[in-house]
Structures are given as structure tokens and as C-alpha cells.
Symmetry: D3
């Protein structure tokens, strides 16, 4: 029995609310259980300087946590004057994951900037961020299509992410904070709608893990991501 | 007629949601129309070093805006590596406003850290922050009382804030973004439940303003703040 | 009786020395009693990027204190690597105050950069800075006129500033450090030569203040600023 | 045929030189082909503050590249005033990898600080760093044993790392810079002497990769790491 | 003939004003011609951590230039967020020069912090700073003696500094800005009252200089410094 | 007898290895005894903005120490977020020394960036850096000549550097760390192949030094530098 009472292969309750705030081209509130992240997608008609004149667009992401999204208050990164290594790792991961399913040439010379801000954290903030960010980007790109700035959505596939881990010696899906703190192995998996891998990041600070454990974890992750992509489609009305 | 169709002395719709997130001792979502701010209050059993052993507590505040809380995306302060002068002004203002109604000696050697994070901005983010932060602090202090750590609430009064300004030549209450951008004079007023002033910050980048205009503005502000304090009491169930 | 022996409505001795240093287009040493500030005005034939091609100029200000301008040594901001929130508040206030009386379109596409550096502090450094900076700017602009770069002074009015406060329960003008540290209410008022308000910043960290107290404070401030503007005119030889 | 003429499952030439510099408790120059990294291990008789009094030690790592270790000169991070996100990711990875095989309780209340500085880069700097750092740490810990400060080596296993990737559609081992720049999938694998996984970081910025491709990559990595661990043992004279 | 009309071995007019500002234990305004520097000495009853419990004191210095002390405005270092390499070099030089003549053991466990702030620059700001700082330190130490905190002045000698250079092919003393900008060799010499060297920093960005030129420069410097030390003594009333 | 057993006028063993790393246009490993520095020279076809269109080139240098190049580990400057004053002094010195012998007009509108990274330190890192950097620059410029981008080497002379000091009351050449830590006077001398001075930096934190001592030190330095320049020529095959 998991601390939350869930089955080993059971996701937390997932909800995806579109148009959560009014200014952004795409704005989504996503919840994985008690983890809540606001994901916005901003379209800007320019590209970073390393892409000027290269005939393609760019997608990038920034990530942050409200100081009291966590159980004890974290320092505000704006006040300490820098983003932590963890924050940078996560925002780079979100950006790469989204770029894997976006046709940057079809996007044209513009960029999409994604902001993922965690307002309540209970484990899995990076996977919720990626899963919600895809929906926000989808909305922002749809707006470009409906305004006639793009002929069709420059998307190659869906992308979503989930964590898996070995807790109390057995593989489980979608770790919450209690499980995450206690588990030996923690793996974040990012996959497309067609079941291919975009990113795998597995870490064993405790006991190293075997090839067999990894296979079990990837099976769990694949099934969980398929569910998440169904939820993205339902939220987008394209199920 | 104001752009929003409101009367000169009319507040925007105000809503105050307590227990908005689960980790903080006090957590409030406050809206002044389309302006939405998450205000959390954290209690820590320590004081800043300049107060060690002085037999009193402290209340301080930090403020931030999500990058896409605004119409065009703002740079993330954590990424640029510093808080702007505007951010620092606002968070200092929030802290002073709260300290004016809290009995720091009765609070004991602990501090309350308030975080005001704007998730959607449409003018008046600092006044909404102060008004919501008071409720979050009230909840955090009430928890200390209910746990027996304080005998009674160390509060001397309520505190709330509102903006007033001269727009199109006439004084109006609670400016939204459209009015704020166009107005000559912008004044933020912070007052207590007993109708005394805690802070007044009036600025004329356009036309300087007369003593008469200021008197009219203060009349508007006083009435508006009385309304806001009623809403705080209703939210807290102490109306 | 005030600690300094002054009457409630009495300014400290004010002196204004023009051409204090030789390089700047305007250079003023202003004293409010023991508070001494060097105010320089620099003219640059460019504008900040947000004003490029907008057909107008800009006026901005920076503020600093020598480390030992104060009773105990302050950290040098250049060494700590950032300007404090207080410094930023003050320099923004100085800039806004000056812009309120300068015709930025008539100034043309150039900027005036004001530097206010406190060499000795005894309360009221920001009000002395504003009052002295106006004279420095006047000198810098006069030089543009005498060189034929401007047809006439792009000034709409004078501007000066003074502090008022409630000390020992009674309103007083132009607080020195001893009064400032002890007073309940501290208000900085910036006004034009025609007696209109440019900025009002009133703060009650101690006891909140009533509308009546505020009115008394504004009366004191108005009379004090009228005196200061006379002294500016005398210094400029336009009395 | 690979650009370097190597077989798909062939490592570059690996050399490990111990006692490379004289001050550090462990100092290793490791080469993976043209990639050369100096790895030093420093023992300090203290622990980070979050571990004070917890009865265990710590191992941490820092990583850097000499500005001209690369084909075109990189900015010196000390001059730009911050470490890039990539640098932080890599140094966190090195630290976690080492901690996975070190018995932190047996280490006692001391820390080992590893510095990996790339003097010449040709792909695979992070995997060479981990592989060389293990040898440097082994030397540093051996010194503690020979001085009688530890009864035995607090090591649970060996650890080494290698990159694998899909280049030109086929899985290859130990990518050099040319292959790394061109490949679709890049995976860094960290494993123990007993063939278990410590870290897996796979990324597809180009085409997403299938479960089958991943299995092939992991087979390649496993064999490569077994070879690297043999080379570590040979260098340490414990083969 | 030099641009200023001075003889090759002639100092600019030197003035030394003690008690220039009121808060510091020592406060001096020193002028070398148009170069004007405020030098203050602060006594603090503590030492830097590397000297805790070592039974000796410390003397350190910080240096800055007001933005408009120069002909065209320099960026304010507090605003750019760091001190330039030049600033750091100069403040380290001032500190070392003072420490060379102060008996740090006799000073006891306290530190003297010197601040040299240039309000008007015309070449030679570092040499004026050292020469003025000695007088400020002398005053601060005298105050410790007169308060009974020290039995006698912990000074081993006087110290002063001057620049020399090769301008238009001939050695000259005390370069002003015009000469400094044009000269081939620039040397700053710091000497004691007994004519010994504390620091020599000679630089040839243009033509390298010969041993003979150096000897001539040192002769000039020696005579100049003897004059400066007479002026220090006159200012201190110990001539 | 010196701690190292050397004669007063004896250099440590000097070795100069060219083509030490493969990417840089010039790459040298230089050793002065146990002090080892990697010096690379990078040619970029641009100039700093202050030289744009001035018809000349530029040479600049950066310096760093690996954290464990020293006996106890130094903080990594990239991690602390700034270069120390010492680092900045040294890199400015290296740059000036090289510029003194390079014909910047003949170099054309390009810049040479030198990186000196200390991998093992035992005193004299700045003098080894200058001496090795000259060889690296020579190689980089030779490559421009051999590629036909320059008609001839834009070099006016050789340049090398050595330290001298007064240890145990007698002048000695090329101080190692043990002597450097204990000596009263420490002087770094930079000279050309024709025996002229480029830089002299002498410091007495202990006892001030006399003119006679300085003359002896300069004699030692001159002879040492002549030897170093012979070694540069031998390494370059132009002896």
C-alpha cells in the first residue's frame, strides 16, 4: 500500500484548466494531486540572437516556485539573486521536451516562451510542468493559426511527462512528496503521443538499480504517459 | 464615465479566498477585479539578527509578479538576478503597512514573512497585496493562538489599501490598468480600521496636483478603505 | 522645544554653493544644517533606448552616501555589489520630482543625469538632494541655452522638497536625524514654485496619523518649500 | 564507419594518470581520446552546515572548462560572474554519482570536494570527469586509511560513466565532439562495478527514440563501463 | 615647459583640511591641484575573521570616485554592481601602504577602515588618497590615545605617495590628467618619512624605460615625498 | 642557503612546452619549478568596442587558478561569482606586459586573448604566466603570418618576468612559495629582450626597503630575465 492509498500504477488525480489567466496566449493550471502549476505560453515575434536569419523559431522555458509552495518556506530566487542549479536543470528540461515535438521551421521566426510557476508543490512539479506546458503551447499556437499567422499547427506530436520510482522496493508511478523523499530511485520520463522517449532522467542516490527495475519503471511510465496524453486531448477537446 | 463603467467612488469587485494553498500558515487569493494576488503568511520561530534578544518579533514582506501576469511578458526577476527598484519599493511598503497594526512585542520573538505574488495584473497590485496580506497574517496569527503559542491576537487594528487618482481631470477610486496608465496623479493610501493613515504615496509625473485635489482623493480613499475592511471582516467571519 | 532649539516651523540653515566641482555641467553643494549633498547634472546627447526616436528627452537620477557620511560606517554599496532598496527608492523619487517640472519635449533628444552624493548626513538627505539637484539642473540647462543648443530653458516651474513629521506629538518642519529617529510619522513633500504637489510620501511605522495631523503637516511643508524656492532663486541670482 | 574510424562499441583510448599535481589528496589526469580532464579530490575536516552533527560525511563536486579547452574560446565563467546551467547540471551529476558508491556514514564527519577541470574538450567531458574523479577520490580515501584516520575504504563499489548515442541511425559508444554535435539521441550512463545504474540521462532534441533503441544503447553502455572500471582498477593497481 | 607651467620637480599646490566631515574619527579633504579626495578613517572594535584572536589589529581601505568627478561621467559602481579592477587595485594599494607604517600589534584587536572618495579628479587620485589617508588615520589614532584606549600612537613612520613619469621624453613629478594621458611611463611611488620605499608601481604601456630613467624618476619621487611629508606634519601641527 | 638549496641568483628549473593543447592558436605549458601554468593565445577577428574603426588591434589577458592548484583548496571564482582583486590585478598586469612589445597597429583590427590558468602553484604564478604567455602569443602570431594574414610578426621585442625579494635580509631571485610567504619585500619585474623595464611592482608589507636594496633587486631581476628570454628563444627555436 502506498502512503496515498494508490495502486502502484495509479496516477494522482489530474486536472487541466485552460484560460486560467487572461493575458497569455496560452494559460493553463495543471494539478497532479496537490501539485499545482501555472503554465503560460507567450508568443514573441522575434528569435534569440543565435537564430537570427536562420529561418526557424524557438521554444524556451522558465520555471519557478512560489516561496511558500512548499512545506517550509524556500528563499525567493529573485531576492537571492540567482536561480538554483535545480531550477536551471528543470527549465532546460522543459524547453528540450517541448522542442522535441514542435516543428521549429514551421513555427517561423518567432519564439514561444513558456513559464511554469509552481503555486503548490507535492512532488512531480517538473512532470506536471511539461504536461501542462504542452497544453498552453497548443493554445498559443492555435491562436496563431486562427489569426492566420500560421497555416497549421507546427506540432509533430503530443508530449507529456511522469515520474516513476522504486519505493519500499517496488516500482510505483507518479511519486508524491512523501514517496519522493523516501525512495531509492527516482526517474523522470518524457514521452510523445506515439510512445517514444524524449527524455529519461533516472537517479539513484540510495541503492543503484538494476536493468530489470529500469524496465519495470519504463513500463509504468509508458502507461502513465498514455493516460496523461488522453487527458491533454480531453482538455483540448480533441480526444 | 470611467473606462470600466464604474462610478468615481466605486471599487472593482473584490473577492478574498482563504486557505488558497495548503502549506502556508495563512494563504489568501485576493482579487480586485482582474488583479489577482496570492498572499501567504509564514511563521518562523526566529527573528532577523538586528532583533535578536530584543524581546519582540518582526513582520516582513516580499513581492513578485509572474512573468506573464502582465499584458506583455516581463522578465523573470530570478533570471535577471535582481529585483527591480519598483519591486523593492512595493515589498517595503507592504511590510511597513503590516507592522503598523501588529503589536511586535506581543508577537514575541518570531517573525511573519508575507509573500505577495501577482498571478494576474490589472492595476492596483500593491493595494490588493496589502489588503490580502492582512487576512493571511490574521489567519497565521490565529493559528498561533489556537495552538496556544499566543494568548491573543497581537493585532492593534485592521489595515487595507486602495489607489486613487485624477483621471480625465476628476478624482476616481481604485484605478485599473487603463486608468492608471493615463492618469496624471496616482496615490496609494493605506489606512487602519479606525480611519487613520499608515502610508500615503502620491505621485504626479504629469501635472502637479493641488491641495484641493488631494483632499478629494483622500475622501475617496477613506470611503474605499472602509469598504475593504468590511470585506476583510466578512472573509474572516468577524463582520 | 525641539532638540535643535528650532521652532516647529523653522528650517535648518540652508546653503547652496554653485560650481562646487569643475567637470559637471551643473555642480551644487547643498546643506540643510549638517546634511551636505553634492548634486551634479550631466548632459548627454543621447536618450535611453525606450525613448529613441520619440522626440523627447529624459531626466534621471542616481543617489549614494559616502560610507562615513553617517554616524556609524555604512557598507559601501559598490563593494556589496548592489544598491539597497532605500537607495533605489530615493533615486527614483529624485528623478520623478525633476521630470515633473521639466518640459521633456522642449529638452530635445538628450538626457540629464543627476548624481546626488551625500558627504555628510543628518536627516533629510533626499529632500536636500531634490532641492539642490534642481539648481544643478538649472545650471546645466542654462549652459545649453548659452551655447545655443536650446532657445530657452525647458523648465515649467521650480521644484523643492522638505520633510515634516510628528515628533513628541506635535508637527515639525525639516527633521534632523535625532528627530527623524524618534518621530512617529515622517512625511516627505515635494512641491513646485506654484505650490502644487509633485510627491507626497508619508509613513507611520509607529502610531497611525489622523487627517487633521496630515493637514497640519502639509501646511508646514508648504511654507517651508516656499522658503526653499526663495533660496534657490537667490542662489541662481533670479530672486 | 564512424568519423573516428572506431567500431560502434569501441571506446576512445583511455589513459589515467595519478598524482598529476602535487597538492591535492587525490589528483588524476584522465583522457578519453582528446578529452582531457584534471580531477582532484580534497579532504576537509568539516561538513556542510545541513549535515553538522548528523554523524556522516559528504561528497560534492565542481566542474569547469578552461576557456580555450574548446574549439572556439568560451567565456570564462569567473569573469561572467556565474556558472552556466550546463555547468551546474554537470557538477551536480558528478557529485550524485560519487555519493552513490561512497558510504557517507563510514566516511565520518568530513567532506571530499572533487574538482573536475577540463583542459581539452572533444566530447564526453562529464563521463571522463566521473570516471577520473572516482580514482582521485579512491586515492584521497586511501590516504586517510594509511594515516589511520579511517579503518578501511568507505567505498561500496566502483563507479564510471560513458556516453552512448544514436548517430546516423545506429547506436554507438563514447561519442566524440563530431558525433555528439550531429547525433539525434545522446545518453549519459553512470554505472557501478556490479553493473547497476546510478544515473541515466537520455535526451532527444532531434527524433524521439524507441524502447528498442534504448535497450541497444544500454547494452553498449554496460559493456563500455565494464571496460572503464577495468582501467580504473589497473590504474589503481587493484586489477 | 609642462602643460601646467610647472617645473619638472614641482608638485601641484597641496592642501590638507582636517575635520572635513563630522562623523568620522578622522576626516580629511586633500587636494593635489584640482584633484580632491575625501579621506575618512573609521575605528571599529573588531577585526576581520582571519585575525580573530591573533592579538593584532588591521587597517584596510576602500576607494571610489563620484560619477562626475571626471570629465565625462563614469558609471556609478554601486549601480553596475561591481568595483572595477582599477578600483580594487587602488584600494588594495592604499591599504598596504598604510599597514607598512602602522604597528598592528600595538593597535590591538581593532581595525581602521579608510574610505577615499574622489570628488574631483585631475590625475594622481591614488597618491593623494594615500597622502591624505595617513593624516586621517593619524587623527583617528590620536583620538584613541586621548580617550585612553591606546597608550601611544601605534605609528612607525609617516607615509606619503606621489606619481612620476616620463612625459615628452623627460622625467616629471606629480602628473596631472593631461600629462598622465600622454606620458609613456607612469610610476607611483610610496615612501616613508625616513625615505624608504613601501611600494613602487611603474608601468610602460608605450615605450619601455631604461634603468637610468628609473633612477631619475626615483630621485624626483623621493624629493616630492619629502615635501608631502612636511605638509602632513604642518597640517597635523607636528612640523 | 635558501630553503630550496638554490643560490641567491639562481632560477628554478624552467620548462616551456608548446602545443600543449590542441584547439588554441598558441598553447604553452610553462613551469617555474613546481609552478605550472597553461597559457593559451586565441586570435579573434574583432576588437573591443572602444577600438572599433581605430585601425589597430588589442591584446588582453585573463588569469585563473584551479581550486586545488594550491596547498589548501581555494574557492572556485566561477562559483563565488566574482574574480578577486588579486586575480584582476594579475590579469591586467599580463595584458599590459604583452601590449608593451606588440605593435598593435601592425596587428590590425583583431585581438589576441591570452588565458593563463595555473594548474599547480608554488610562488611566481604571475611571472611564469607572462613568460609563457609571450611564447603562446608568438605561436599564435606566427600562425597568422604562415596563413598570410600578416606579412610579418607584429612584435617589437621579447618580454619576460621574474620575482625578486629580500628574504632573511638578503636579495634573492625567483621566490618560491616558502620564500614568498616569509619575505619582507616582494618585487615583480617585467623586462624586454633589450633590458628595458615594462613593469615594476615592489611591495613592502613588512619592513620598507632602501634604494640600495632596490638596486640589488633590479640587478638580480635583469640577469634572471635575460636567462628566461634565452629559454623562450630556445623553445621557439630562434635561439
Amino acid at each position: 500500500m502506498r502512503p496515498s492509498g494508490r495502486q502502484a500504477n495509479q496516477l494522482r488525480e489530474v486536472s487541466i484548466t485552460r484560460q486560467f489567466t487572461k493575458h497569455a496566449e496560452g494559460s493553463v493550471l495543471i494539478s497532479f494531486g496537490d501539485t499545482q502549476v501555472i503554465c503560460t505560453a507567450t508568443v514573441e515575434e522575434n528569435v534569440p540572437s543565435f537564430l537570427k536569419g536562420k529561418g526557424q523559431g524557438w521554444v524556451t522555458a522558465e520555471y519557478g516556485m512560489l516561496p511558500r509552495s512548499t512545506n517550509s518556506r524556500m528563499k525567493r530566487e529573485a531576492a537571492s539573486g540567482k536561480q538554483s542549479g535545480r531550477t536551471q536543470e528543470i527549465q532546460r528540461l522543459i524547453g528540450r521536451s517541448l522542442r522535441a515535438v514542435i516543428d521549429l521551421v514551421a513555427l517561423g521566426e518567432r519564439q514561444v516562451i513558456v513559464d511554469c510557476d509552481v503555486i503548490q508543490a507535492d512532488g512531480g512539479t517538473r512532470t506536471a510542468s511539461i504536461t501542462g506546458a504542452f497544453v498552453a503551447v497548443h493554445d498559443a499556437l492555435s491562436q496563431l493559426v486562427s489569426k492566420g499567422q500560421l497555416a497549421s499547427l507546427p506540432l509533430k506530436d503530443h508530449v507529456a511527462a511522469i515520474s516513476v520510482g522504486v519505493a519500499d522496493g517496488k516500482p510505483v508511478l507518479d511519486l508524491d512528496y512523501v514517496e519522493d523523499s523516501a525512495c531509492d530511485t527516482d526517474m523522470n520520463v518524457v514521452m510523445t503521443g506515439s510512445g517514444k522517449f524524449v527524455e529519461i532522467q533516472g537517479t539513484a542516490e540510495g541503492e543503484a538499480f538494476s536493468r530489470e527495475e529500469m524496465n519495470e519503471l519504463l513500463d509504468l511510465a509508458g502507461a502513465g504517459i498514455a493516460e496523461l496524453i488522453q487527458k491533454q486531448k480531453a482538455a483540448l477537446g480533441i480526444a
